[in-house]
Amino acid sequence: MSENRPLKHGFFGKLRRLLPLFGRDPLVAADQVTDRALVAVVAILTFLAALTSGSAQFAAGTAMRWQVMMASEVTVQLKPQGARSIDTDIVRVSDILRGTAGISSVKALSRDESAKLLEPWLGPASSIENLPIPRLIAVRINTDQPPDLVALGKSISEVVPGASLDDHRTWTKRLGRLSDGFLTVSFGALVLVILATGLTIVFATRGAMAGNREIIEVLHFIGADDRYIAAQFQSHFAVLGVRGGLLGGGAAILLLVALKIGAAASLIGDFSGTPSTIFLDWGIILVTFGVIILVGLIAGAASRMTVYRTIGRLS
């Protein structure tokens, strides 16, 4: 019946009732300033929560990938043994390794490659030409059907004195402990950010509700029951919360996508070895949407509590 608002019947009236998230119930005033402020606060906090979530998952994923990488590789080290030809020993050990089930590749590093690895400590390869440099064989194993590394190490040592097999177990354990600690800190930070987000949204919603006290009073005294009044505000503020959440969460996902694209050609990508899965996966998107829905629920519940508190004071 209004000039600028049609009667709430007919097709669009029914559609609006069916899709409350996409329309504002006119009983609740849309305060441009407080509503926008609430949307902005929710957007910023959701953005931070989504980024923290992304960081935690990034940390978890990277640590897991490193552990898998380390567990899938072992190294055989051959120390020079007096008159024995180290090149012959390398061939002999390589043959043993290639003949062992569960080993997918064997790559012996040349003397130059070994010297290059020592360069940071001993200087240019030319200056250590006469030193007895240990030689390395990089062995990639099939993690689904790994060989018996203890037995393999023993047989290599028996055939070639001075040869030893390093399965990186010590480093894998250390890395595991480090990544566990990192994960605990990351998820702790995520929990704190979500808690802070929830509390801030509760207070921001209550602040935005302060201007609606008169509406609550009028509705109460003209015969609206408490549930009806609470439902009006709950849906209004839940919609505001979801709007803010979509803005903040959407911005966070866009940023993660940009980082993903950038990582493909960056040092970070080289560092992890798997840039395409670092910064964005379905887990991050799901968690972000979870945060958005959570934010809407918190805003709706906070407004509902405020309505009941206000009505309680009226009586």
Partner: protein
Amino acid sequence: MQAFPHRSVGELVRFENVGLRYGVAAETLTDVSFSIEPQSFQFLTGASGTGKTTLLRLIMQALKPTRGTVVLFGQDTSLLEKDGLTALRRRMGIVFQDFRLLDHLTTYENVALPLKVQGREEVTYRAEVTELLSWVGLGDLIHAKPPVLSGGEKQRASIARALVAQPELLLADEPTGNVDPSLARRLLRLFVEMNRSGTAILIATHDLGLMDQIDGARRLVLAERRLYVEASDV
């Protein structure tokens, strides 16, 4: 307006030795006893600060008495749950001193609000709201919002909102306090028309001239925390 159906036959309101105090202060109202009959017309009067609005708030259940009994529509309010109180409020219409119209709604939407909150579909009340708005002289302003209405127009919209659900009892707090004498007389005629249609009226006012315009209206006078009932002339 046609006469309202389904009227109560007993008392609409009965106060028995009602007292009210705020905190530990002395009682604001003491031993208040009176009743309001269906289709009756009465003024509640007294000097400023004697408790007229407080008494109205006790009737509309915005306040609970410290002692005594308040019976509304035959039900002891101290025994009622929230849903019961809401049902009683739907049988009352309230005209607030400061109108209490919602600024973001049109006149039509404000007036239709009591029906909307009862869950009625708009198609079932559109015609009667429009008719009521015409009856109070706001037929041309149904699309206007309160900020652009004059004081008198707001008051009439407020009265229409109080009436739209066809209440058995109408409470009006200083309904002519913000309007000029000419408009006050017109508003008073509205209340008389409502009363003839079957609604009991209780108007809180300190305007003696206003009360003199209605022959036969009972006067409830608040003074020194007590209520004195003056018999009606008829």
